[in-house]
Symmetry: C2
Subunit: 188 residues, 2 copies
């Protein structure tokens, strides 16, 4: 369900082609929902057949022709209704934390190294988010124009979550370091 509304949300700021939507999914909404081109094209066709968007062929010179989509008023209605709908708590699926769950089985030094490698990846992500945050620059939170309110809030969510991961990782690293002298041990 979310995919169609993520697409409709993107289209509220103007017409976009499937390709352009695919690119947007690598940023912005993409932090909390993502999809590849192969999923986006059929979804756009479905949205059009349901009258929530309308497509228009745009011939281009020097590059392939494209088909751009505009959200219809019915599409906007369905989107705004959905936005206020209650959401179930997200059941996170995080491969890394499944690994952490078995850290008691392995050498603490090795676990520490794996943890720190993952921490570095998260730090890179944070830097990318911060760079985008700078684009909202100047504008103190209350002054963000309505069209950018949602993107701004979700970006802040992204930053907050990555920062909290880093804080947890530092804490976990401290606990692992205290065990470096102890041998690894299997459970129970």
């Amino acid at each position: 369900m979310s995919l169609r509304f993520a697409i409709l949300g993107l289209l509220t700021s103007g017409e976009l082609s499937g390709y352009e939507i695919t690119r947007r999914f690598e940023q912005s909404v993409g932090y909390f929902w993502h999809a590849r081109a192969q999923q986006i094209y059929p979804e756009l066709a479905r949205l059009e057949s349901e009258g929530l968007v309308i497509g228009r062929a745009v011939p281009q010179a020097g590059r392939p022709d494209k088909r751009v989509y505009t959200i219809t008023s019915r599409g906007l209605d369905e989107l705004t209704a959905w936005v206020l709908t209650p959401s179930p708590l997200t059941l996170t699926k995080d491969e890394f934390l499944v690994k952490v769950w078995s850290y008691g089985l392995v050498d603490p030094a090795a676990a520490l190294a794996a943890l720190e490698q993952h921490r570095r990846q998260q730090e890179e992500r944070l830097a990318a988010y911060r760079a985008i945050e700078a684009a909202f620059e100047g504008a103190h939170p209350e002054a963000v124009p309505p069209a950018f309110l949602g993107p701004y809030l979700t970006l802040r969510a992204g930053i907050t979550f990555v920062e909290s991961f880093l804080a947890w990782a530092d804490d976990a690293a401290r606990i692992l370091r205290a065990r470096l002298t102890q041998p690894p041990q299997s459970a129970s």
Copy 2:
């Protein structure tokens, strides 16, 4: 891939039936990976056919017979190898934040109400985590026995993440409240 290793991880603390594994997935590892019974039973069969676990029928009186599984040494080898493997950054999928992304389209008061409802759900989750944390009670972090290190660290991760959501939600609520007098506006 993660499902099989989540199951193997659970089996490191002793033999469990498919049903018991299903129950465990509602807590502990379940915070970062989850699966329903229908997925767990076939996976156990697959793990057994690959020699990573061995099953044993346990006749019971007064309740259905069950089949309990033990991790093999090959299973333990594969698990410990996997645990130290680098993990890709998780691409979160969060329906609620897809909605937040379009908060600029709706009445700030309605958005605020939706936000606060979701916040309350997260608070309940935090209370549940804290209750489990109390079971690790007394033991200061460095003293947690190795068999509980992983579960302890993931529980702390769960607590940290929920707390950071609450902090973000408070911040977002503050920003929305500052807009209560302004009319809703559709995107440019």
